[in-house]
């Protein structure tokens, strides 16, 4: 490992985005199936 690499952290580490799927939480949207992924993208916020 070069000195430069040694002093940098987090390369390739993605943010975790927890979402509710049917009722369960899932730690990452990557695990969603295609349909649920599309649905999550379409979700709009509800005003209060």
């Amino acid at each position: 490992m070069s000195d430069k690499e040694k002093s940098l952290y987090g390369e390739g580490v993605c943010f975790e985005r927890i979402r509710r799927i049917t009722g369960y939480l899932v730690g990452t949207v990557d695990r969603f199936n295609n349909a649920k992924r599309a649905e999550v993208n379409d979700r709009v916020k509800h005003g209060v």
């Binding site: 040694k6 002093s7 940098l8 952290y9 987090g10 390369e11 390739g12 580490v13 993605c14 943010f15 975790e16 985005r17 927890i18 979402r19 509710r20 799927i21 049917t22 009722g23 369960y24 939480l25 899932v26 730690g27 990557d30 695990r31 969603f32 199936n33 295609n34 349909a35 649920k36 599309a38 649905e39 379409d42 979700r43 709009v44 916020k45 509800h46 005003g47 209060v48």
Partner: protein, 776 residues
């Protein structure tokens, strides 16, 4: 002349006319068209020159077929060409029935071949593609399809599904499932087990239990209560394919706190007396211990909130051996210390419980148990201590500050208990809102919704409403109306109807209802078929669920007994998806857009509920209507319908059908309007339901709005609801909250790095930052 044939795989094989005639013999046998002639020839069996009518006729037809092929100049025919020629030969020779049998035989062979090929394709997909590429591997988001055990589970699951559709389901059910009219959920477990169960921990813990790998004694403090609760959930998960839930977490854990407090009080009492009197432990401990056990026999024990009877009796008795003033001082010390120690221990127990449920594995190690816990109604100080600490540890998150995925926490809301100021558990309701605003859990269930309230008997926690997992609800009991409780019961199986397809096919509302009725009956028959298979299973097939008496009345059965009678307490549920798309197809508008669509929606779902009630009466069982959770199903139906009917705007133009009765996720609507529209469907879907609200930004900054929504849920008659908001986390700097393109704390964007200097600087500012691999 024909010397070779081309097989399906392309190989050329020597031609053999007998193979053709053998197939024709089978067709004649199936049609019975030659039966009279065969009988006649058998009567003349003695005569010389007799020949087998069946094979000779078949050979003649085969020769005719070959003649046709040769006439057409086909010297190397393939299998399809030969079969076409045989069909023609049978028709030309006036064997119409046999031609029909032959066509059916051909179709059946094709089907088997296709299924086998499909299975091989599926297994290949599972083997060689990663979860990222393969939708199949992401069918269930809580299983990691890339691991060895996840893959093995998938092989088993897909093979089992193929087996059941081919060999066990009635053809009409199998076909309806395969063509997407209906969806039989958890088909891979078709003949094996039931969906889920509400585990009564109090009953299970009494006298201990056996996991199949050793006996666990009755727990003796809150830590072992919490540890055993997790083990019970894990063990039961291995006997069922659906979720596992605890209906009485507050009541059950309170018992553990009671014991922990009693022990802590005793040891602190001894310590205090040692200190005040200067005597040795051996002199004091036996005296106090003996007194406590004698008092316990008379029903007097030390309690978290001190009770007069105990305090006075203890003081009086101990004063016989020690100075009165010293005793009273020791009591005060012991009360305070024991309370603090119990509180701390309870927090640790809850912390460990949540950690366990997020790390202990089930199902060949491919996933953690699908766990839920219900609580909120018990007002005993011990139960309140449990709930407070559970919420606090949930708020803190897991080791690295991560949001816990399990258990699903369900906070029961009830007026007079926790909803309003002055209610004994109001503080816990407030805390539940605060934690949910940060961690997405707890969800909220509503005891006062009329259809939940009707079962509730104060003083009988088993009649409180319990939900589980995605939304399942079991409380009414048509099979045994004296047992309208949640404990020890669950869903047996469920099957969903593709509502939008009925609308697409029928177009008119009248015809829609006719076809819906046909589909409802089909599903009811299918559920009954499966119920018959499930009923033949024995206690030994469910060593924990039935063997340890978790399921209602299973403790009355022997190891070799069938479970048919006791599972009648469970529910058979009919589910549905895509009410919104159905309404768009029938009226042009979904229920969020038009009041008359809402009325039609309620009519449709009400009609389905009526059907379930009628079937319950007719069959003496528990049929119920489910707002299907639909994870894998969300895309399956619409994919098929898109192929079949093309893209219909507002109906098949997305990659998913809208969940159950929900107003579409893409439709702009206020939180309150959405809840008001969805609440009446909660009353109809007695097998389970949930409504979601999506909040923008960070709701911890606006707890009033959060609480207002929960209160509105209670007001409009929602049964079970939760509020979604983005919960993001940067594993590098540990930030939890809303992350847009860049992390608000460390400023890096997704997948990018930060420097060591920056990290050290942040570490000084946020001392609680978790260690990240590679970071000193």
């Amino acid at each position: 002349m024909i010397f070779t044939v081309k097989k399906r795989d392309g190989r050329e094989m020597p031609f053999n006319i007998e193979k053709i005639s053998d197939a024709i013999v089978k067709a004649f046998r199936a049609s019975g068209e030659l039966n009279d002639q065969i009988k006649a020839s058998q009567e003349q069996i003695d005569l010389l020159g007799h020949e087998d009518v069946l094979s000779s006729t078949a050979l003649k037809v085969a020769a005719y077929a070959v003649g046709r092929l040769e006439a057409e100049g086909k010297t190397k025919p393939d299998i399809e060409e030969i079969q076409d020629a045989v069909e023609k030969a049978l028709t030309d020779n006036n064997y119409a029935d046999t031609a029909k049998s032959y066509i059916l035989y051909r179709a059946e062979r094709t089907r088997i071949r296709e299924v086998n090929t499909r299975l091989m394709h599926t297994l290949r997909d599972i083997t060689f593609s990663s979860a990222k590429e393969s939708d199949l591997k992401r069918e269930n988001a809580n299983i990691d399809g890339d691991t060895a055990m996840g893959t093995m589970l998938k092989y088993g699951s897909e093979s089992a599904k193929h087996f059941y559709t081919m060999m066990m389901l009635k053809p009409e059910h199998s076909q309806a499932h395969m063509n997407g009219d209906i969806h039989i959920h958890d088909l891979d477990f078709y003949s094996l087990t039931m969906t889920c169960c509400q585990i009564d921990l109090i009953k299970l813990f009494k006298n201990g239990f056996n996991t199949g790998h050793g006996h666990l004694r009755e727990p003796k403090d809150i830590r072992s209560y919490a540890a055993l609760a997790a083990i019970a959930i894990q063990s039961n998960q291995n006997d069922q394919h659906g979720g596992q839930s605890v209906p009485n977490f507050d009541y059950a854990m309170a018992d553990g706190v009671r014991i922990t407090y009693r022990k802590a009080y005793l040891s602190n009492m001894v310590k205090a007396l040692m200190l005040f009197t200067g005597k040795e432990e051996e002199e004091i401990q036996p005296v106090v211990k003996k007194l406590h056990s004698e008092m316990a026999e008379m029903g007097m024990v030390a309690t978290l909130v001190p009770n007069e009877k105990f305090v006075e009796t203890e003081a009086r008795e101990l004063s016989k051996s020690f100075d009165t003033e010293m005793v009273m001082k020791a009591q005060k010390f012991a009360e305070k210390q024991a309370y603090e120690e119990t509180d701390k221990t309870t927090f640790q127990a809850m912390e460990a419980f949540v950690h366990n449920l997020n790390s202990m594995h089930s199902r060949a190690g491919a996933q953690t148990p699908f766990s839920s816990i219900n609580y909120g109604m018990c007002t005993d100080p011990e139960a309140r201590m449990v709930m407070k600490n559970l919420l606090l540890t949930t708020d803190e998150g897991l080791g690295g500050g991560e949001t816990a995925i399990f258990p699903i926490q369900i906070f029961r809301v009830k007026k007079g208990i926790n909803l309003n100021e002055g209610d004994p558990n109001y503080d816990l309701f407030k805390l539940a809102c605060k934690v949910s605003a940060k961690r997405l859990f707890p969800n909220f269930s509503f005891q006062d919704a009329p259809y939940n309230l009707q079962y509730y008997k104060p003083g009988h926690p088993e009649t409180e409403i319990s939900y589980m997992g995605c939304r399942t609800r079991v409380i009414g009991n048509n099979y045994d109306p004296t047992r309208e409780i949640s404990y020890g019961r669950g869903n047996l199986s469920f099957t969903s109807i593709n509502l939008p397809r009925i609308a697409i096919k029928m177009r008119s509302i009248d015809l829609f209802f006719k076809e819906l009725d046909r589909m409802l009956q089909l599903v009811s028959d299918q559920l009954m078929e499966r119920f018959a298979v499930q009923s033949r299973r024995k206690v030994k097939n469910f060593p924990f669920l039935m063997g340890q008496g978790v399921w209602i009345d299973s403790d009355k059965l022997g190891w070799e007994d069938t479970v048919g009678e006791v599972i009648k307490h469970g529910t058979l549920s009919i589910g549905f998806i895509g009410l919104a798309e159905t309404l768009v197809m029938l009226t042009g508008k979904h229920h969020g857009e038009s009041e008359s669509s809402q009325q039609l929606g309620l009519k449709i779902i009400g009609h389905m509920r009526d059907f379930c009630d009628k079937e319950s009466k007719r069959l003496g069982l528990n049929f119920s209507l489910l707002a299907t959770p639909a994870e894998g199903l969300s895309g399956r139906f619409v994919r098929m319908d898109k192929k079949k009917y093309g893209i219909i705007p507002g109906v098949t133009d997305r990659d998913y059908y809208t969940n159950s009765f929900h107003v579409p996720v893409y439709y702009k609507i206020s939180a309150f309007k959405k809840l008001a529209l969805e609440a009446p469907y909660h009353a109809l879907t007695n097998a389970g339901h949930i409504s979601y609200i999506e909040l923008d930004g960070d709701p911890t900054q606006n707890l009033d709005a959060f609480e207002k929504i929960v209160r509105y849920m209670a007001e409009v008659g929602i049964g079970y609801g939760s509020i979604n908001h983005p919960v993001d986390r940067d594993p590098v700097c540990g930030f939890v909250g809303v992350i847009g393109d860049t992390c608000p704390r460390c400023g890096r964007s997704d997948g990018h790095y930060i420097s060591e200097e920056k990290l050290n600087e942040l570490r000084k500012k946020f001392p609680g930052m978790p260690a990240f691999r590679g970071i000193r």
